[in-house]
């Protein structure tokens, strides 16, 4: 397997861009990509999967955030961009209709958001250690009475006290949002039932997890496409694949010779599927803190690609289809790599 740099976009920014969102459904040619370029603006790349256009030709979405944006998600129908910010709010912006709503309830920066598979619920995790779910439907449509009660997003549907330290990442399975996984700095991975907010399972790396000195903060959780496995990255850069039903790690992806000193950079991680059938190959694409992009074969655990793409850390990685990898580094550059099998 080889990686080829196909395009690169450099953009100016006052802070380091760390968020990247991708919308590219399998059965259509639609393509949308969002990058936060400063504390209140989001760059929207529309229908340009090869990144051929210049920055100035793309649309910029203005939000009301006044501190940095931590996470962006595009809704399952590609119409709404949700942004979570350090100012403790989440904003929903419709691409044609403008701003839809602001979700205010978190008391600390919101770090991770995710839409449910039916598109009507938004989940958010925050540094305030809580997990919230927000209903996104026009329930008020029916009568004037109900308008006052349950219009749009006035408050969260549910709040779950989730962890004893900040939540950094969360994910729901693509087809089924009945469960939700969170990764926190307290070193625990938790799985919640989204219908009632109960915790269903707690996973941890460390045998003596309660002992403070040994906690390895979790920075990324990601479900496999069928929702049966959970890919987890801790702050030290070790990537593990959990069979969460059995509560065991079934794969560890880690290059011990290249162990880096731990710093606070959160780096990107994603799955790469070569096809849709059961015997298709599955890879894990991992960005590192020293600017490398690594690809592991999930079956054999072999590292099939290891290239240096940047001098700084690779803050986000998103895979589209079976051959395109979009990555973002902290020097505010967006790369498109194509995979040659």
């Amino acid at each position: 397997m080889k990686l080829k740099l196909s395009a690169q976009l450099d953009f100016e920014s006052t802070s380091s861009a760390i968020t990247l969102a991708l919308f590219a459904p399998k059965h259509s040619n639609e393509f949308k990509l969002c990058v936060s370029i400063n504390s209140s603006q989001i760059l929207l790349v529309e229908n340009d999967p090869y990144l051929k256009k210049k920055i100035s030709e793309h649309r910029i979405i203005d939000t009301d955030h006044h501190k940095g944006i931590n996470d962006i998600q595009i809704s399952c129908d590609g119409q709404v961009v949700a942004s979570a910010s350090d100012d403790s709010t989440i904003e929903l912006t419709h691409l044609n209709l403008g701003k839809l709503s602001t979700c205010i309830s978190h008391t600390a920066p919101v770090t991770a958001i995710k839409f449910s598979s039916k598109g009507n619920i938004l989940f958010s995790g925050s540094l305030d250690e809580n997990l919230k779910s927000w209903n996104l439907s026009a329930s008020g449509i029916l009568t004037q009475e109900s308008i006052n009660n349950e219009l749009l997003i006035t408050g969260p549907l549910k709040t779950m006290s989730a962890h004893s330290d900040c939540i950094i990442s969360l994910d729901v399975p693509f087809f089924d949002s009945s469960i939700l996984a969170t990764g926190s700095y307290d070193g625990l991975i938790r799985i919640f039932d989204t219908s009632n907010g109960n915790c269903l399972k707690t996973l941890t790396y460390d045998k003596d997890w309660a002992n403070d000195g040994h906690v390895r903060p979790i920075v990324k959780v990601s479900f496999s496409v069928n929702g049966k496995y959970l890919l987890v990255k801790s702050l030290d850069g070790v990537v593990k694949l959990w069979d969460y039903l059995q509560g065991r790690v079934v794969r560890t992806f880690h290059d011990e010779e290249k162990q880096l000193p731990i710093n606070n950079h959160i780096t990107g991680l994603d799955f790469l599927y070569s096809g849709e059938t059961e015997d298709s190959k599955v890879y894990v694409v991992n960005g590192t803190q020293n600017g490398r992009l690594e690809i592991f074969d999930v079956m054999t655990k072999n590292k099939v690609v290891d290239v240096e793409i940047s001098k700084n850390s690779v803050s986000n990685v998103k895979v589209m289809g079976s051959d395109k990898i979009y990555c973002l580094d902290t020097d505010n550059r967006l790369f498109l790599y194509t995979v040659e099998m």
Partner: protein, 489 residues
């Protein structure tokens, strides 16, 4: 599909029927008369006494879609929408009288409804939208024209169903005849099941031929068809005079009668056949629900069936009060449990649940405190919903999944009794990092089968997993914006 069930206590998840009352769905100001979950249990469609049809999200139990033109908003929104988004304006109007029947198509994209206003409507839930939820393997092209349909009849329509998965035909049960109507949805051609030209007599025995001739000549003798059940290609029709007819629709152009019997002297109100086409439940006005075994004989050379045999098995009735049954519903798969709502019931009664293997009464659901009519049993969420006759609210019973406190820490365990703590030999030994790593490596190497791609075919409860092949109702952002603007004014 629900992955969360895999992580709950299996003894709670695998209950055969819901045990706990879980409250009501308030449909005010509308009165619910019919309610139906979609095949995946994601949405609940509610038909109301004024002809409205609403769709609730089953997770949040909040209204997400109102079909047709909402009179409360004077149709203002609809006109705004079409001008802004250039989507085809849907001109479908609501039923003007109470909804009589409500059914989802297998892909969850269409709903077929019949009303007391003698209209049958087919609703395309995608018709007001041009962007769809993409978490589905079912490709949906943006609609160029509205694919909703409205069919008017001169006589009352009791029930309407989609025939098979392609949603090309609908089977209607209309008064005025004992023979149901088949409707070609695209062209709107309505024809009766049996007319002399299309009937094939070749394989039928003399008895069937005589019966058919008699039925066509003296339709009145057999009453009106009032209930219908459609499982795969088998259609069972019940008439107001207690006759039951079984049709084979394998070849839609030549529908064949494969069984008939007179069950009782009074009208047949509901018919249910279990998914595996083995059991048949017939609710008639004579206050009895009859359970029968049904068997089909295959044709020798041609596709389809030759004969259907119906064998009486059990009777269900309220021995004390002799109540009539309003409606009934069956648990999924082999139909192990039957639930029925009693007519004119008081506070003490409500829904009756029986075990169908031995016809024994298992449970009476009493919480509603009023008479209940229509029942739907959703197998995915293991939830029973029934509409109240007086209040028009929907009462729900579901399985309670208790919180798992032990899951809050990785090594907690819930115990039923006090357990004496015995320290294990190596419990407080220091872990040898290398040894743990080696063990883990060995374990990882032993696993060479990892399926990260394909979904399970069934969920824990044995329901077919079709969540990636069903339609997800888009969110109408225009309504949100419209409402927000209204409030700001």
């Amino acid at each position: 599909m629900a992955v969360n069930l895999l992580l709950h206590d299996p003894f709670c998840v695998l209950k055969d029927y819901p045990e706990d009352y879980s409250g009501i769905i308030n449909t005010y100001p509308f009165k619910a008369v019919k309610q139906k979950f979609n095949p995946t249990g994601d949405y609940l469609a509610i038909g109301c006494s004024d002809g409205s049809i609403m769709i609730y999200d089953a997770d949040t139990m909040k209204l997400i879609l109102y079909l047709g033109n909402n009179r409360m908003l004077d149709g203002e929104i609809v006109s705004n929408k079409s001008s802004f988004f250039n989507t085809p304006a849907c001109t479908m109007k609501n039923h003007t009288l109470s909804v009589q029947s409500l059914k989802w198509s297998s892909c969850s994209r269409y709903i077929i409804s019949a009303g007391k206003d003698a209209k049958v409507k087919i609703w395309d839930l995608s018709c007001k939208f041009d962007c769809f939820i993409t978490n589905s393997k079912m490709p949906i092209a943006s609609a160029t024209s509205c694919s909703c349909h409205n069919f008017e009849f001169e006589f009352a329509i009791w029930d309407a169903r989609f025939y098979q998965d392609e949603n090309k035909y609908a089977i209607l049960c209309a008064s005025g005849s004992c023979i149901p109507i088949i409707l070609e949805i695209e062209s709107g051609i309505k024809s009766k099941f049996l007319n002399l030209e299309t009937m094939s007599y070749s394989n039928d025995n003399e008895e069937t031929v005589n019966f058919l001739n008699d039925m066509i000549e003296n339709e009145k003798k057999y009453g009106n068809c009032v209930s219908i059940e459609l499982v795969d290609e088998i259609c069972i029709v019940g008439t107001s005079k207690g006759w039951l007819m079984v049709y084979d629709l394998t070849v839609i152009s030549s529908i064949r009668l494969i069984g008939f019997a007179k069950f009782c002297a009074s009208s047949i109100k509901n018919i249910i056949m279990s998914d595996k086409k083995k059991h048949l439940f017939i609710n008639s006005s004579d206050r009895v629900i009859r359970q029968c075994d049904i068997t089909f004989l295959k044709q020798n050379n041609e596709p389809g069936f030759k004969n259907a045999n119906i064998e009486f098995k059990h009777k269900y009735q309220d021995v004390i009060n002799k109540l009539q049954w309003n409606s009934m519903s069956l648990s999924s798969h082999s139909g192990e449990f039957l639930i029925a709502s009693a007519h004119g019931s008081t506070n003490e009664t409500g829904l009756f649940l029986w075990d169908t293997s031995n016809a024994s009464l298992v449970k009476i659901y009493e919480n509603a405190g009023e008479e209940l009519s229509d029942i739907d049993w959703d197998a995915n969420k293991m939830c029973i919903v029934a509409s109240g006759v007086d209040s028009g609210d929907i009462f729900c019973w579901s399985v309670n999944l208790p919180p798992k406190w032990a899951s809050l820490a990785p090594d907690f365990e819930e115990v039923d009794e006090q357990v004496n703590y015995v320290e294990k030999e190596d419990e407080f030994d220091e872990f040898d990092e290398d040894l743990i790593k080696k063990d883990q490596l060995k374990f990882e190497n032993e696993i060479n089968l990892l399926n990260l791609l394909t979904l399970d075919k069934t969920d824990v409860r044995g329901n077919k997993n079709v969540c990636d092949l069903t339609f997800k109702i888009p969110i109408s952002y225009q309504d949100i914006v419209h409402l927000r603007d209204n409030i700001e004014k």
